[in-house]
Subunit: 199 residues, 2 copies
Amino acid sequence: MPTGRRERKKAATRQKIADAALRLFLEQGYDAVGIRDVAAEADVAVTTLFSHFASKEALVFEQDEDFEQRLTRAVTDRAPHEPLIPALRHEIQALVRHCTADSVAPIWRMIDASPALRKYEESMRLRHAESLATAIAADPDLSVTPTAARAIARFVIDAYSLAREATDPQAAVGEIFQMIEAAWVVTCPSANSTGTARP
Amino acid sequence: MPTGRRERKKAATRQKIADAALRLFLEQGYDAVGIRDVAAEADVAVTTLFSHFASKEALVFEQDEDFEQRLTRAVTDRAPHEPLIPALRHEIQALVRHCTADSVAPIWRMIDASPALRKYEESMRLRHAESLATAIAADPDLSVTPTAARAIARFVIDAYSLAREATDPQAAVGEIFQMIEAAWVVTCPSANSTGTARP
DNA sequence: ACCGTAACACTAACCGTTAGGGTTTTGAAC
DNA sequence: GTTCAAAACCCTAACGGTTAGTGTTACGGT
């Protein structure tokens, strides 16, 4: 039903704001740039900015819904009888690879440098873990208690978070997922071994 | 060297502020009470309040250092050759029991109701996990990689957080620690089984 | 052509937090 | 005791993120 021009203009405004924000943040530092600066640079009113982004921090984590969806889809969209943990490991490996790439490295350096952004990222991760837990608990092939589903979901998010900060991110993912695999196995006594290949 | 009156007066002021804050928060709700209200109720200046507490949220989590110390001491002060995970499980069980007691239940209900407080608690947990990881990595009896130590520390903190929210907190601690035990075992191939007794 | 409404703008404020600068209290050295 | 430095406290004013209130414009469906 919704045709097009309005939505295109809205999306353009949102993008214009996000671009302006990221540019200023990287140029001058997150804390040195005020909301009023961003709004001026994007040529919109402050209230307009806040109608597109819930907070200053949200300007940086513009596309965090992608992250959430990729994780839940790794669970829901996997092939029938494909084991859960390797699927999640694969997805986390891809996500870690993506966020340690050179092109986005300055952004993550900025995030790590700002307490406000770190805090925001942490609370985001809680949301992600809850979504992932729901997806795991909803899978009919798996019969796990709600508590076990939540625990595994947190562990997986922890793996992402820890790997990002590790000196060798890929190796850290492997190491932590070996632990997650072991934790997973004890939740379902009838489970098959799933092979956490790491030479 | 530091004798006494000054410190006693300072501690008294701090306590007066914390008491006033908690009273107002529980009466009227965290978000409905402003810093200026708390300062007025405690009969101190706003700047004085902030010289005792780093933020509004810190008024609620007044004694979070206890939590951190109890966890790290559970690692450092355990008997020689006493296995790590059961010691941690025991401590977490005590902490969960404490924070689900009726006397403090309203406080935690208030925390769960306020996004700002939840966010603050989450970032606190990260600090706690980092301290715990340091304690684990520093234990000469254990030979774990830094990554494994951090992972286990996070899992333990997750256990606390998840158990608090579970319908049966004690059972949740048991369930999650079974998983942690399994994760722990794979980090040190030469480890002994430690018996996660749960009938 | 018309109307409801989504998107945007402007102003003015609220609230947590901090800087700047001053006063009193305390502990200790003399 | 007197004196002195520092600690603890107070006050005012502001800064920066965020929101409410109140329009105005541009779009889309009828």
